[in-house]
Symmetry: C2
DNA sequence: CAGTATCCGGTGCGATACTG
DNA sequence: CAGTATCGCACCGGATACTG
């Protein structure tokens, strides 16, 4: 036994389970590149056209092009054609439902970052409730309705897609 | 005006605000590398010794060494010496409070990944409430007590650390 | 305005070998 | 067992130039 302590004896040990195809790692594989998170921030902030994103974020055009294509390919953004009056057709990038569902992830990162990685001047960005204007945070809740304020009450367990290691 | 639509007129336009030092990007800079998330998963799963992590995760020794040092340096993990009886002193890596506070991020990613990036066999990993065993999810809640089930009710706004552009 | 083509540098990561 | 040293490749990302 190499693992020293486990709080609950019913929780299986990680060493007995494969972590291949872990959905957290897969999610990070999509979001983890630096340019990707910059592109997403622009889109969620309402900046949706190529050149505006380029100027505002500073991401190189080639990289921006690559990331936008990848995010469209993943179904996180979609290209929407529109026509400014008197001009030819243009495209803008908007989040899909799958893209909007990234908000809990971005909010959780904004919360953690605000607490641990920003200086005394405060966080550059916050999440707000459109309805009432209050700040929004990501909180943990279990399906029995308990709210988990202490992260030590959480533990990863193998899901239905886990595979046992010999 | 290059931005096409905004739901609430009170929300400032992103183009007027610098996104430098955004805490989401900074957080991603720490967590975004592939090996980092693998290391964190091992630690949160209770695998805390170097060689166990190496064998179980498949991360190369040099990379594992680098990531562990970085995470200790960031205050997310700490090295804890211990002595198995009859052996010389060893070290294990444990999450700090700052590290445990990553749970909302990891849970939000597990939720999103389970919905969008895993096959029909189901998610390999889930989060559980130690107290009652129920599955744990990350939900959005505002400081006025509203629960936000629709991510379209969220909008990023400049925080106290934001700086106006010219 | 909205990209693509091409080149190049930095580095994340894997593999192998070595140390206390 | 728990790392460090070294090598090499792949790839992300920046800069410049070109196209419809």
């Amino acid at each position: 036994m190499t693992v020293t302590t486990r709080t609950a004896a019913t929780l299986p040990l990680a060493l007995e389970w494969s972590t291949d195809n872990c959905q957290v790692a897969r999610t990070m594989a999509i979001l983890g590149e630096r340019a990707t998170i910059e592109v997403l921030r622009e889109v969620f902030n309402g900046v949706r056209r190529f050149d505006d994103m380029h100027r505002h974020s500073g991401v190189a055009r080639q990289v921006l092009s690559n990331r936008l294509a990848m995010l469209v390919d993943e179904g996180i953004l979609r290209r929407v054609p529109y026509r400014p009056e008197g001009a030819r057709v243009r495209h803008e990038y908007r989040p899909t439902a799958k893209g909007l569902d990234l908000y809990p992830i971005l909010t959780a990162m904004a919360d953690w970052g605000a607490r641990y990685v920003v200086g005394p001047e405060g966080a550059p960005v916050e999440m707000a409730h459109r309805g009432c204007g209050s700040r929004v945070h990501a909180v943990l809740e279990c399906e029995s309705g308990h709210r988990l304020d202490d992260p030590r009450d959480v533990a990863p367990v193998p899901g239905p897609g886990a595979t046992r290691i010999s």
